[in-house]
Symmetry: D2
Subunit: 344 residues, 4 copies
């Protein structure tokens, strides 16, 4: 079985592993106060052109989302997100468990717009019973989205503008950020995210690390006491340096971009193979996830050799599925898949 | 200004007030352990033909909803409800504040169906990533609904059956229960609710009391330690007997039904006045809320004399609004309104 | 049986009842936006000499405590309180249910000191692992305390000073405030509380109302969006005017002080009766609660005629108990009790 | 600087690292559903003689404690623990953040007794106002405790008996379990824990792993839906096999016991060195933590070369501190420390 079902089937990139090995028996302070975390934070601030940003390292995405949101909102506030957002559908209600409602907006291709956000806020403040309704306090985007799509720089600029006008924090989930940064049509750099968001993160788990997400907080209001909240929510790794070491390995020499580009390139090969067969896609995207709409019989045939993930039924005879590449995907496996697509 | 905007503009029915006055200087134990609460509980058990039901008295609806739901669910569970449900849209996220997601189903006329519930549960249990998704643990209905509609006995029987099959608690919010019980097309008695639900409540606040909701818990699993949770959530009234006294006044001699019938009858008069003018309704219903769809100019004219509540814009020139009667509505005010409708 | 077990055995003072009766059939807006609540708020601002204070009316004490604390704290913060504080021992963990730890200080006679607070904060900030420990964010006092004692003006001034220095909100629970204001040794007026605290409340439930607590928020940081949080926590009474009406009745013509003084005077009579018999007290106080330390045999004899509440075992043969008077206590009942004490 | 301040200064034991390296590029399912987790679970069930136990792998201790407690308790319940317990003092209120009060018992040497637990429960159920007080629902112990002490088999048997009698879950935090199992005076095996507790965990983070705690749930009530709650609380590692791989490396060939024994032996050397100098200890223990009570001048001298952690001031001139060994501690460093102690 060849796995294209997700982007966390393997361990870590060998350079990451080597670095963990090399530093293994060093003695350092715990909880992210070690020199590796400091150095990695410094490097991230540089790459983001955000010299006053606070950088924190957490273990996983659900943990990071719930921690950031809990740290930012007052009890009566909720977080605006696409109805397809990971926090709305795939985190077992972690946001609600911290007391906050996810306020959903209907999303096209996983994306929401500045206009939708503004309209929602205006409807809230002009409602007679506004105090009986959850107050929007933050906007959550993912970039790339759950459907592999990305925001253009203009879209992000507009969303940021609306958030500042309406008094909302802007939070970008970058669990797969590398795959956006390396996409052929990418317009948004880390420094743009740092400039336009209040907080975002650089995902490691899905892009070459064993685990780890680097949270970049540019808004001083959100910086205050953030480590208390990481600890309270169980996200403060005792041997925190493991996170610093990994992000150093990923970000020095731009390994992060290089390996994400590898994945995006292989995804493009798969996309082209489907296109050549006239197979349509659920959504247009250029990151590491491919969402073809296939006949059930085709899916059965592919399933004998490949693991993909099921997305949704499109009509009686067709379903959309997901093929996912990653930093670890082997070119020969993709070539084989492309040949098998050809033969469908 | 004549108020038809809601059903809690006045104090309490005079018989309720008299009873409060008559018992005012008696000394009793606090927190609902007094003889009035005991007697009112006994009376409710009789009316529900539910000799083993536990009865508790709370002050208001949002408090009751949040308390019942928090008492029933484990942390990873959510509550299924109509997207228009009060808990979803008008309680400032009280359910989420207790850690639970409201899982919404698209509702027609405020109602959801057994089939929708079952389909949701089946989709959950058959999802590969089911543990990453909030587990449905309870169904919340309101009867009458936010739109004044009611469930037929058959609909409720089916929902109850599905809930038992799928392992969900069934909870009916009866904040306006009296107006359903007294409706011309009513099929569902208190004993049906007691038989079909795990927990429901008999609303006092909107039907003749100063305040108060009587929660009837028939499922022994939900009975356990419920008073702890009332106390924890701030719902245990020190002078609890005020609730017992009021419910005794309402339920003895069926005052509750009588005054609800008064309100339903007046609502019907309003409905007929609109119908005679060929004005359509957002939804068909026979309880104390009327939802005509009116031209903006008509709304402006009515607004000079009457307070109604805004529901939703229907098209460029029309909006649905709500006219609400109650146990306290004066017939002459309704007659005047009907004449003014006639003249529109 | 004559009840001295608590101060909420009866309904409301007759002037309160009359006012509720007189306004019963008026139509007003709901949720505390009516003219009575506005007028009562205005009156309270005057009495507190706090023209910019926000005033909100809630139903009960546990609800009020939990709402104020939840509104004020960030997730990693806790509330400092006497180990005997109501929020620590008698609210079924309502504060913890909103996510916050009660940080207890050993209390003498129910009171804590400025020095204790400051020492706690200094220990926190100088701990190496401070981020692994709940951060104190608020101080909760009750005045009078659970043991009927009161803070002197100097004590309160010092506590206020320390709170401002250390960045803590100061919150005073005044569930029995009237009994402190009317005490023979009282030094602290409402305007002092308004000046020294960030938020406090004027208790109605135990001092003449059917129910109700008037929250006075002087700190603008705590004023923001407070009504959302009342609603979310189920504390927003639909017929909110019931609260405004009652507080108007209590505060106009200083009925509140008058009836509290009645209770304090009767408590003093009981205190003197015990003193004449050489019976010691658990604590010295001059409000409506009396805590004699009695032989078990004496307690048994008194229990045949009087209901009191048990406080704690003092030694093998003695226990401290509580005799409580209230606005409703009848002088003849106290006289009878004093005679029976005499005969012990 | 030589670090004796904690037991998580280094990475992982080399055999653990080798295993991670060897399996790094394998493709497996995520979230702990891989063959390594299955095999490690099986091995743990064998070692615990608990064939029906559920085994789950989490990343860290605070996360594990909060997850287990949140999964077990109803909203009105709290967890009984030593006042020195990690959950009470060093987890930034993670338990309270999930809504539950930590109910503390005064602890001697970090330990609580069956009698204390039973007395607390009896006091609760016999209190008139029991519903106004948090209900004890679980007992939390750590073994070894925060002070390195351990429970005897008899003590644990008695606690278990009381918990079953009183309807409390028994949960043992084994973050340092290896150091107890390898202690010279150990009486309690894994199979005893499995037999006597409802849930406990085998700590990896402090005993040879990069990170990881293996939770063993023997009570079927606690097994139900536990993975949902891990996910909700951000504890479900995407590459879950990293945990399975590590625990396999630790538990096969009893590496876990061997390396814990190494640490305990070195701690004993330190203990003896202090004893030879007539230096007393805060507590008697035989695990990897040593708590000498030293003069301030001695502490200053040692601090020039060694990192230890501060425990508490004992009197004007003395403080208790902690010297901690681990699986990674080098014998030559301990020998050097012993010589320096000799010279004090």
């Amino acid at each position: 079985m060849i796995y294209f079902n997700c982007d966390y089937n393997e361990g870590a990139h060998e350079k990451v592993m080597e670095r963990l090995f090399a530093t293994n028996m060093e003695q350092t302070e715990g909880y992210g106060t070690d020199p590796y975390c400091k150095k990695a934070s410094e490097l991230i601030r540089e790459k983001c052109a955000a010299p006053t940003a606070a950088v924190h390292f957490l273990v996983g995405g659900t943990q990071t989302n719930a921690t950031v949101i809990a740290a930012a909102l007052r009890p009566h506030q909720g977080v605006l997100a696409a109805h397809t957002a990971h926090i709305n559908v795939h985190e077992t209600g972690a946001v609600e468990a911290s007391g906050h409602k996810v306020l959903t907006l209907p999303a096209k291709g996983g994306k929401i717009t500045a206009e939708q956000i503004d309209r929602f806020v205006q409807a809230h403040v002009s409602d007679d019973a506004f105090e009986h309704i959850v107050q929007p306090g933050m906007v959550y985007l993912s970039h790339p989205t759950e459907l592999g799509t990305t925001y253009s720089l203009e879209e992000l600029e507009e969303i940021s503008k609306v958030c500042r006008k309406d008094g909302l924090f802007l939070f970008v989930d970058g669990a797969r950020l590398g795959y956006a940064l390396a996409a052929s049509d990418n317009e948004v750099g880390m420094e743009d995210l740092a400039r336009l968001c209040d907080v975002f993160y650089i995902g490691g788990t899905k892009v070459g690390a064993l685990f780890g997400e680097a949270v970049v907080i540019t808004n001083p209001l959100l910086q205050k006491d953030f480590r208390y909240i990481i600890k309270q929510r169980g996200g403060m790794l005792a041997k925190g340096r493991l996170l610093g070491v990994q992000f150093l390995a990923l970000l020095e020499d731009d390994l992060y971009l290089e390996i994400a580009g590898h994945a995006d390139g292989l995804a493009e090969m798969i996309r082209e193979a489907f296109t050549r067969k006239g197979i349509p896609f659920l959504v247009e995207s250029h990151t590491n996830q491919v969402f073809p709409i296939l006949e059930d019989s085709m899916l059965e045939r592919l399933a004998q050799k490949y693991s993909y993930s099921y997305q949704e039924r499109v009509d009686a005879g067709h379903s959309a599925v997901r093929f996912c590449t990653s930093w670890a995907t082997k070119r020969e496996n993709v070539e084989q898949l492309c040949q098998d697509i050809e033969r469908l």
